[in-house]
């Protein structure tokens, strides 16, 4: 039997119907006072009703965080952890931690971006997840698009997984009255893309995402110039470049490679400006955020408008895999400086394989 974790944020999504931006902190009480009804229980019940797989043994959170829904179905399950009357983010983290100790192979969770961040903090990329959307804030690409899709993932997952982003509101930008999403990290989700294609698929996306990422990375490394400083942005494709070079990369940070060696880790804007002053040749390598296509202005604030103004569009290399870039209508930039955004507008190549690129429009 496969041990599968289940945790539900029972209050996720309650803010939406009453015009709130979430149910974090005091917003929950406000949502209840405004007459909001829970959304998550209906979502998870729908998913469970579509699960046909028989080799699953659930490890679930107690009461409204899991057990309450499973007991209505014919699954075997074990409850871990305890909760009080009002469940919190800390409950999610603690109970998921206990599930990990129980040896779960995959975790199903129901919630929004906040719940996703809690899960990320505990499982990272070590245990794959299936994320069922129920929240108000839904910036993360990790979420399945419906109950049917979540059930399909549960029914079919095997050993193929692909990384997806966890995003949440950028608190710094929120203080400045801008509602934008920030990249917080990556988790693994089942790769079901190949299961859904017919015999005459209108796409030749066939390779496993992990292999394509390595292919892109090898191509970039082969093409690296010895005298050029390479600023590597955040993301797993960029990490794959460091892996090819046998270097350790910070997943969310901006790192620097020169002569095939890591010469700067998790550097800030001032560090990059200093490098620009010291070296004649410098290139920035970035990957778009899945789902929204941002290459600048979301994932890495260190690569500021000033940095981009000095480096220029021609010295920016965008990398990605077709399964990530193909679902985008465009790339996006939002650096806060309109002139810089405009300079990066128009067509841009994205390296998606060995001698392989896709031409995308950059919008600002």
């Amino acid at each position: 039997m496969i041990k599968i974790g289940l945790v539900v944020n029972p209050f996720a999504g309650m803010g939406g119907s009453v015009g709130l931006k979430g149910t974090d902190g005091d917003l929950y009480s406000k949502a209840v006072a405004l007459g909001s009804e829970p959304v998550a229980p209906g979502r998870i019940r729908k998913v469970l009703s579509l699960v046909t797989r028989k080799d699953l043994s659930f490890i679930c959170a107690p009461g409204v965080m899991g057990e309450e829904y499973l007991k209505d179905f014919d699954f075997s399950y074990k409850v871990v952890g305890t909760i009080g009357d009002r469940t919190t983010s800390a409950d999610t983290k603690r109970i998921v931690g206990e599930m990990v100790e129980e040896g779960i192979e995959i975790l199903v969770f129901v919630g929004g971006d906040g719940t996703a961040r809690d899960v990320l903090d505990v499982v990272g990329m070590n245990i794959p997840v299936i994320a069922i959307p129920s929240g108000v804030k839904m910036f993360s690409s990790v979420f399945t698009f419906s109950a049917h899709a979540a059930a399909e993932m549960i029914n079919t997952f095997g050993s193929a997984f692909t990384e997806k982003e966890i995003l949440d509101i950028d608190e710094e930008a929120f203080i400045e009255n801008r509602l934008v999403a920030k990249l917080y990290g990556y988790v693994n989700v089942p790769d079901i893309q190949h299961l859904l294609q017919g015999t005459k698929a209108a796409s030749d996306v066939r390779s496993v995402a992990k292999d394509k990422k390595r292919e892109v990375a090898k191509y970039i490394v082969e093409d690296m110039d010895q005298d050029t400083v390479y600023i590597l942005g955040p993301g797993t494709t960029l990490k794959a470049i460091a892996d090819v070079l046998s270097l350790e990369k910070t997943l969310l940070g901006v790192d620097v490679v020169l002569h095939g060696k890591m010469v700067g880790k998790d550097i800030n804007e001032a560090d990059i400006l200093d490098l620009i002053r010291r070296y004649k040749k410098l290139k920035i390598v970035v990957t778009p955020i899945g789902g929204n296509g941002f290459i600048f202005g979301r994932g890495s604030r260190q690569i500021s408008s000033q940095v981009l103004g000095l480096v220029g569009k021609n010295n920016v290399i965008v990398v990605g895999t077709l399964d990530k870039v193909g679902p985008l209508t465009c790339l996006r930039v939002d650096t806060g400086d309109y002139e810089i955004d405009k300079a990066f507008g128009g067509k841009m190549d994205v390296v998606i394989g060995h001698h392989e690129k896709i031409i995308m429009e950059v919008k600002f």
């Binding site: 959304v39 209906g42 979502r43 729908k46 579509l50 959307p133 698009f145 419906s146 109950a147 049917h148 899709a149 399909e152 079901i192 893309q193 859904l196 294609q197 017919g198 015999t199 005459k200 698929a201 209108a202 796409s203 030749d204 996306v205 066939r206 077709l322 399964d323 870039v325 193909g326 679902p327 985008l328 209508t329 465009c330 067509k347 998606i352 394989g353 060995h354 001698h355 392989e356 690129k357 896709i358 031409i359 995308m360 429009e361």
Partner: protein, 325 residues
């Protein structure tokens, strides 16, 4: 399961084909002779209105495209759309200077043909395009491509019988142009895979071969099918009529339906799980959500009964809610 995912004809080939194939069973110990291939080439050439010397026969369009990539793609940029149904693009990565994909973006799916650059290209596209169902290049743009640079252009006209538009007449004038046609669609021979290329001189020089690449059964079926063009035209007309009817039905159900000149429809649902829900209901359609844009599906036009069944199933699905609960 009703399969509306593969752009096949829902109709059997001409009854004459079945009879001829049956007769060939007594000759399965014999290779197809080169004079028989000449006869088939003549028949294909007459159908397209070109000289038979320009005809190259292959076991399916993918084969012809793959050969073109191997022989002509070296040191060229091999260019196509994303998404594409050309599975031979994987081969291009081993020979091409670069594989270049042009992202198709709704609602107009406009292609910046002029922006392809000066590096010699082998430009591959389908006309009408799969999955949009639209003809994404006009005659003037194609001529500019052929006259403006050192590009080779290979056009897949698998859907010719449904759209009635062709660039075949340009082939004798432009050596860098080739067009493929097939019997796999309106002629109903997908199970035998018979396609051919009308090759411009540059393609002809590299790809002409004396090799016989199709089986005796495929040869006999192809020749007989081409003797009954009226039957294929009637099948295509029925599909076109069904396409329009199905399109109206899908729109009435709240789906966005893009105009199509092919034997399939590109649709967009409010949520991305239309294909999944249809699969549960016993219908297979091409789900483009995970490989291209969210909510997009390509639905092959079936026969009247299949289309009716699909519309009936759709009307009882929850995929039209903003978010199922």
């Amino acid at each position: 399961m009703i399969d509306l995912s593969s752009n096949e004809s829902p109709y059997l080939p001409s009854p004459k084909v079945g009879k001829e194939v049956g007769m060939q069973l007594e000759h399965l110990n014999r290779y197809v002779r080169s004079e028989e291939i000449r006869t088939l080439k003549k028949s294909m050439a007459d159908y397209c209105g070109v000289s038979e010397e320009r005809i190259l026969i292959g076991p399916g369009t993918d084969y012809l495209f793959a050969q073109a990539i191997y022989r002509l793609g070296r040191n060229r940029n091999v260019v196509t759309f994303n998404p594409t149904n050309l599975h031979c693009m994987e081969n291009a990565r081993y020979v091409a200077a670069q594989v270049v994909r042009l992202q198709l973006v709704p609602p107009a799916f406009e292609i910046d043909w002029a922006g392809l650059g000066s590096w010699p290209g082998l430009i591959l596209f389908d006309y009408p395009n799969n999955p949009t169902g639209q003809c994404l290049i006009n005659r003037g743009q194609l001529i500019s491509l052929l006259e403006g640079g050192n590009h080779l252009v290979l056009v897949d006209e698998a859907g010719y019988e449904y759209c009635g538009k062709t660039f075949v007449d340009l082939v004798p004038k432009y050596p860098h142009l080739a067009v493929t046609r097939t019997l796999n669609k309106a002629f109903g021979l997908a199970g035998l895979r018979v396609s051919w290329m009308i090759a411009g001189d540059s393609f002809l020089e590299e790809l002409d071969t004396k090799e016989v690449l199709i089986s005796r059964v495929a040869y006999a079926a192809a020749l007989t099918a081409l003797e009954d063009i009226a039957y294929a035209k009637d099948c295509a007309a029925r599909t076109i009529s069904e396409r329009e009817r199905l399109g109206r039905g899908l729109m009435a159900l709240g789906l966005e339906v893009f105009s199509s000149e092919a034997n399939y429809l590109l649709v967009r649902a409010k949520t991305a799980d239309l294909a999944l829900q249809l699969k549960t209901a016993g219908f297979l359609v091409e789900d483009l959500s995970l490989v291209w844009l969210s909510g997009f599906c390509r639905i092959s036009v079936g026969n009247r009964e299949e289309n009716e069944a699909l519309l009936g199933a759709l009307s009882s699905l929850s995929c039209f809610d903003e978010q199922d609960s």
